[in-house]
Symmetry: C2
Subunit: 232 residues, 2 copies
């Protein structure tokens, strides 16, 4: 079994991971067959089952590797922000929390050299993947990171119910997912985006997310009081 790539194996394991990642994005998890993967990777069909045991294990491995790195970057960014604020004796700002969470994904998504862009498109799709075992696995991988960021956001927004923060975080992940899945995955706006420069995507999205996060709280279902938002 061995760890990364056995001994001197001609990187068969790594080639499978790369090929699988790219094909998962292009065709989805279910629609990507073992034969497509092995053919693209230029290895024998049996290699996947030999190195990973099963297709499910391969999928998990693809996600675990990249998602682990992504969440590590996020937590490191949050650490830096909290340390700096602590040293200055002030609280962390919501915008800083958002940036710590979403910037790493966007950086990864717009990094052409790294295979990151491919992965982030895959990840965005997978949040809503119907496949039960994939969702369960993803939730487990995310749990700790999500917990820390929700706490940080809650601390940075006094007076906002935790419930509301939870929902807005959910909405923000949705907006980010679409931002990353982007203009080539979603062709609804085909031919309408003049400017797809990924460098400009980050400020665009961050501005939108901040606006949404700091929007006036909605009136609670009971239709009594005055509307909370300025109505335009």
């Amino acid at each position: 079994m061995s760890s990364a790539s056995g001994r001197g194996g001609p990187e068969t394991r790594g080639r499978i991971l790369d090929a699988a990642e790219a094909l998962f994005v292009e065709h989805g998890l279910e629609a990507t067959s073992m034969r497509m993967i092995t053919a693209t990777a230029g290895v024998n069909l049996a290699a996947v089952n030999y190195h990973f045991g099963s297709k499910e294990n391969l999928i998990q491995e693809v996600f675990r590797l990249r998602l682990g790195e992504l969440n590590q970057r996020r937590l490191a960014a949050l650490d830096r922000v909290e340390d700096a604020a602590g040293a200055a004796g002030v609280g962390v700002k919501p915008s800083q929390v958002l940036e710590a969470f979403f910037e790493p994904s966007l950086q990864m998504a717009t990094d052409e050299t790294h295979g990151g862009r491919i992965f982030m498109q895959l990840l965005g799709r997978t949040y809503t993947e119907p496949n039960a075992f994939v969702r369960k696995f993803l939730a487990a991988e995310y749990a700790d990171t999500l917990e820390r960021f929700l706490d940080a956001l809650y601390a940075s927004l006094p007076g906002v119910p935790r419930e509301e923060i939870l929902w807005r975080f959910h909405f923000m992940m949705g907006a980010t997912s679409y931002a990353i899945a982007g203009t080539d995955a979603l062709q609804l706006f085909a031919g309408k985006f003049d400017d797809e420069d990924p460098a400009r995507l980050i400020p665009r999205l961050m501005s939108f997310l901040l606006g949404g996060l700091r929007a006036p709280l909605p009136e609670l279902a009971s239709g009594a009081d005055a509307p909370a938002h300025a109505d335009d």
Copy 2:
């Protein structure tokens, strides 16, 4: 061939549509087999190919039916808003445009009696569906409606570049998609939502969307001027 359900056919066609819709949500398009559909509908395996020709045609029919109704409601709502504003001699407000577009989806999504809720979950997932023919079809079905709403939004937001509106609309659809896919589809926040009352989802989301839409414009990539947003 006949239109709705032939002559006295025991609604075989309709039962297939209902079963397919529910199964597509639960397992995805590719992972839902003809045998699952026909077994759930209680009809013969060959019935799908007889009534719809192929699985692809069945998928298209499922989407066409509900999406047609949804977009009709959206356009009707926009008509009402524009007529009222025209009669009063004022412009349409951005919040009104948003409500005309997103409220019908949320109404449909939270309507338990109708099969609407099921469909909206399916639709939210399908925007990012890797399957090419589904995306193409969806884009075609959406084209006219989207065009009208983008125009209305552009007219209601003087001074905001059309490019920016396009992006923010994209982001808003992402947030809405997650809102609808909701807490049972996406288990990342499992056990953390205390309040899943769908009636409160609408004001929650609308408040968030409005905040995002009206956020200060991002600085354009050139790192010159002062930041446009109040930084917290």
